[in-house]
């Protein structure tokens, strides 16, 4: 077994990208994604990665170039955060609709304004309905592992969609942790060769990609795209089985943590899941029947797995690191829909916007009940 290395989440993702060996990486720097592509560009300069690194003039261009290269028959990766993702958003929809199997990393960061560089999930939630697969990593190891899984998922013939690996800005992108890498050869064998149907640069079989769709076809193509996204749930399971054989590490579209015999379960995305695990351990030692359900896949939503994991639970608390002003925060809205009619008592809280820390003691208070809708906010009762 390889010894773990001390790597930041950003460096760990860069190693995964080096190993999945994309042909083209069009990218524009933005905090806190920059360490990913900065580290990867060093690999390219050192000759340990062969990708064509394209210094584009914006994130809009980065995704546009990524679509072109992915459909031309080149494995393609890009990365961004926050305002970069907002600028890219228009083209993310097109990547999904053109079924471009590219992969990207998102170093999650609050959207302006006010301008801020720290973590929340408002950037990822902005492209929630774009049709991209969104996987959330809890820590650097998961960010690495999901990045190795991502091209397999994106390029699967039943999926053929862009896949984003989301890791919390600074908390995961910049904090160093022990990360166990796979052998380069093992990753190369695991991801295999890149292929895409009707590659644009295949002159012997020319094809028109992204044709105009009038009212007689637009609806059908949207339905087809939605079905492909849902199929990513089963495909993820199959790939995760293979990944476990290679790595010894098990992934699912959800991760239930001490949910057995739990009456009160918290639901969260990303690094906060680790914080909740610590709180759950503390409370379990005190005999309190609490647990955590972490969603690794947010899009597609693993609705059946969520419902199954929460089947015997009396109370669910949803933590959203993004708000939906004037509406229901995104994760809470999903859980409300999944648990509708189940009789489960559901409450939800917004926390951590703009990088506001959440500590195990805060989570323990949430489990105790009576916490305000906005956690850790000055001025709440």
């Amino acid at each position: 077994m390889t010894r773990p290395l001390l790597l930041t989440g950003g460096e760990a993702v860069a190693h995964a990208v080096r190993q999945i060996d994309p042909d083209v990486v069009p990218v524009y720097p933005i905090t806190p994604q920059t360490p990913i592509v900065q580290t990867f560009s060093r690999f390219v300069a050192d000759g340990s990665a062969h990708a064509e690194l394209v210094d584009v003039e914006s994130e809009h261009s980065a995704m546009s170039a990524a679509i072109g290269s992915a459909l031309a028959g080149a494995r393609t990766f890009t990365a961004t955060s926050s305002q970069g993702l907002a600028l890219m958003a228009e083209v993310v929809y097109i990547a999904a609709s053109m079924r471009a199997p590219l992969t990207m990393a998102i170093g999650n960061r609050a959207l302006s304004g006010p301008i801020n560089i720290h973590c929340d999930h408002s950037d990822s939630m902005l492209i929630r309905d774009s049709g991209i697969v969104q996987l959330f990593a809890e820590n650097a190891q998961e960010a690495y592992d999901l990045m190795v899984i991502a091209p397999r998922l994106a390029e699967h013939p039943d999926v053929l969609l862009p896949v984003a690996v989301c890791l919390d800005g600074f908390t995961t992108t910049h904090a160093a942790e022990p990360v166990t890498l796979l052998d380069d050869r093992a990753v190369a064998d695991f991801v295999g060769a890149y292929s895409v149907p009707h590659a644009v640069l295949d002159v012997l079989e020319p094809a028109t990609h992204g044709p105009f769709a009038m009212p007689d076809y637009y609806f059908e193509l949207r339905r087809q795209q939605a079905a492909a996204l849902v199929s990513a749930l089963d495909v993820f399971g199959d790939i995760a089985d293979e990944f476990e054989e290679v790595s010894g590490r098990r992934y699912g579209v959800v991760e239930p943590y001490r949910v057995d015999n739990a009456s009160h379960v918290m639901v969260a995305l990303g690094s906060t899941a680790g914080t909740v695990k610590d709180a759950v351990d503390t409370l379990r030692e005190r005999g309190e029947p609490v647990g955590l359900l972490k969603l690794t896949a947010f899009r597609p939503l693993p609705a059946d797995a969520v419902a199954a994991a929460l089947r015997d639970v009396a109370r669910v608390t949803v933590l959203d690191r993004a708000d939906s002003p004037g509406g229901v925060p995104p994760l809470a809205a999903e859980l409300s829909a999944v648990l509708y009619g189940s009789g489960v008592e559901l409450e939800h809280h917004v926390y951590g916007l703009g990088g506001r820390d959440i500590h195990p003691v805060d989570v323990c208070q949430l489990f105790a009940g009576g916490a305000p809708a906005y956690v850790g906010l000055r001025g709440e009762p």
């Binding site: 609709s97 053109m98 079924r99 053929l160 149907p197 009707h198 079989e205 020319p206 094809a207 028109t208 990609h209 992204g210 044709p211 769709a213 007689d216 076809y217 609806f219 059908e220 193509l221 339905r223 087809q224 795209q225 079905a227 492909a228």
Partner: protein, 96 residues
């Protein structure tokens, strides 16, 4: 009009491959004039071939051969660029 595909039978993303789509003859878009050539005046400069936006000028090797009226839309660019006036626009019904 062929029946419309349901969503399960479309190529991913609606990609069109030549075998799967009709090849409409866009020459039907001409509005009354078509190009005609006097080959005795043609010097095979191929400016018409270079400028034709519809690849409707056929070549035999490097020599001008004729027009592909299935795809010529009658834009008149060939007649405009022809340096010897070998190409002229004639009424659609003119026998050639």
């Amino acid at each position: 009009m062929p029946p419309l595909n349901d969503w399960r039978t479309l190529e991913p993303g609606g990609t069109s491959v030549p075998a799967a789509v009709q090849q409409p003859h866009t020459g039907g878009w001409r509005t009354g004039l078509k190009p005609a050539v006097d080959l005795t005046m043609c010097v095979d400069c191929l400016l018409c071939w270079l400028h034709c936006p519809d690849s409707a000028v056929r070549l035999a090797g490097t020599a001008f051969e004729g027009f592909d009226y299935d795809y010529c839309k009658g834009c008149e660019i060939c007649a405009e660029v022809c340096p010897t006036d070998a190409i002229t626009m004639v009424p659609e019904e003119t026998p050639l």
